[in-house]
């Protein structure tokens, strides 16, 4: 077993290695593209499902099924659809993380506190105005919750996609390569870095936003 000190050293060496950083950047870029899609499609669909009862009846179950599917399970389909390339990985991130955002957004919309709705209605808000000025802002804490979870799900889907697609530049391929060469210390160092990036982004961005929103909306 390699010592923690040794792994620590390897982590530092990697972080200053241009080739390694390039691989990390490629993975992060894919994640960003996928996550942007998650934000747009997840929130967009979630708002539609929350707003229109008939859509929710038809597609609501589909969103829940999408959310129930483990991200890795999308990879084979992604490969069949797109081939062994970057698009397949992005597709995996998108489908692995969009479901939770849809489900959270639509329940946020449906579960606006009755008191807030009553207050808005007595002040003359109705229809689309009520939706955009009251219901959507009231749902923001739930949407933020969904995005935070989606980040974690998306990150897992990204790794699954990169590991299985294998041939493209990125952290997944690095893991595959060192595993084939049985380089245990380097493998562990990569894994530490992968976990750290995920935790860092969660703490620096998502946790902060969530905390801010919760204290402001009084849902903490």
């Amino acid at each position: 077993m390699p010592s923690p000190l040794m792994i620590g050293r390897l982590v530092v060496t990697n972080m200053t290695d241009a080739a390694f950083l390039f691989a990390v950047a490629s993975s992060l870029r894919r994640m960003m593209i996928g996550f942007t899609g998650v934000v747009i499609i997840g929130i967009g669909t979630g708002l539609l499902l929350g707003r229109f009862r008939f859509l929710d009846d038809v597609l609501g179950t589909l969103a829940i099924a999408l959310h129930a599917m483990p991200g890795a399970a999308w990879v084979p389909l992604a490969i069949v659809l797109f081939g062994l390339n970057e698009s397949a990985v992005i597709f995996t991130v998108l489908l692995g993380a969009a479901g939770i955002v849809m489900v959270n957004t639509s329940s946020g919309v449906k579960e606006v506190p009755p008191l807030v709705l009553r207050a808005a209605k007595t002040m003359g808000a109705r229809g689309a105005t009520l939706f955009w000025h009251v219901i959507v802002p009231a749902a923001i804490p739930r949407i933020v919750d969904g995005l935070r979870l989606a980040w974690a799900f998306g990150w897992r889907a990204l790794m699954a996609g990169e590991l299985m697609v294998g041939s493209i530049q990125g952290m997944g391929r690095l893991l595959n390569d060192v595993a084939k060469q049985r380089q245990m210390p380097q493998l562990l160092a990569f894994m530490v870095i992968i976990a750290t990036i995920s935790v860092a982004i969660d703490t620096l961005i998502f946790k902060r936003v969530e905390k801010m929103v919760k204290s402001k909306w009084g849902t903490a």
Binding site: V116, A120, M123, G124, K216, W217
Partner: protein
């Protein structure tokens, strides 16, 4: 003028329909301050929602200046028990909300919101968010928000119930001041008998299950009033005596009557909340 004609509201609970409020006849004159007191769950909020147009009566009609209401209207605004302020808007934006919905020009929104925030002494907090305010301040913002729409009728649903006694006292004075200045018609619902007698021209008691109007008490005492004014204390006692029966009924329905058997009649606090909540 607000007129309720034989207003009844039923809710169904797994198939059984029960009257939550039943056969309410009530006329409130222009500029009058009317309080409604009754135990928890007797249908006070339901009645407020009916007049606000948020609920439709199962039977009977509600008329404002002779016209039956068909839904929420800018002539009637509700101040709710808990702060129903919008947490994502600043104090100023909350007060402007109704005007914005009405399509008022931005300059007018700013001006009116400023005016009513001054009236509730919160100008300094116009840029704050609701979570930064105390409970009393939130309710003052809610009052300013309601007044900014310049409604004829202010419907207040236990607006001060969650506040401590001192804050409540201050807000009573402030509300009376506002009422005098703006000449609004106010229907104020509370389970606190003392509060009702300090504020109202007329106090009505409500029965529980079904909620009916029980008795009216006119209070011709100059304002500002002190809760402990001997004239008021007499009225308070009379009202409480009338409410005993209703509270006992609630206690029994809620399966708390074994307590009463053990300890004798339910002690009714002077705030009229009784033992049961």
């Amino acid at each position: 003028m607000v007129v309720l004609e034989r207003v009844t509201k039923q809710f169904s609970h797994n198939g059984n329909k029960t009257d939550v409020v039943s056969d309410i006849d009530l006329t409130i004159a222009e500029g009058e301050f009317v309080c409604l007191v009754g135990p928890s769950g007797c249908g006070k909020s339901t009645l407020i929602y009916l007049i606000a147009g948020l609920e439709k009566p199962s039977a009977g009609r509600i008329l404002i200046d002779g016209t039956p209401i068909t839904g929420p209207g800018r002539d009637r605004v509700v101040v709710f028990q808990e702060s129903a302020l919008f947490p994502w808007l600043t104090v100023q934006q909350n007060v402007e909300f109704g005007l914005k919905m009405a399509g008022a020009p931005k300059a007018e929104q700013t001006k009116k919101a400023g005016h009513y925030l001054r009236m509730v002494h919160l100008s300094r907090f116009s840029g704050a968010y609701p979570y930064q305010l105390s409970g009393g301040m939130k309710q003052r913002v809610a009052i300013a928000r309601a007044l900014a729409m310049d409604p004829k009728i202010l419907l207040m649903d236990e607006p001060f119930a969650a506040l401590d006694a001192q804050t409540r006292h201050l807000l009573h004075e402030e509300l009376i001041e506002i009422w005098r200045e703006t000449k609004k018609t106010i229907l104020f619902v509370t389970h606190n008998v003392r509060e009702a007698t300090v504020l109202a021209d007329r106090v009505f008691t409500m029965t529980a299950r079904p909620g009916r109007l029980k008795k009216g008490y006119a209070i011709h005492l100059q304002r500002p009033r002190r809760e402990s004014d001997p004239h008021l204390v007499v009225v308070q006692q009379r009202i409480l005596l009338g409410l005993q029966e209703e509270i006992a009924k609630v206690v029994k329905d809620e399966g708390l009557d074994y307590l009463v058997k053990k300890t004798g009649p339910v002690a009714v606090g002077a705030d009229g909340s009784g033992g049961a909540r």
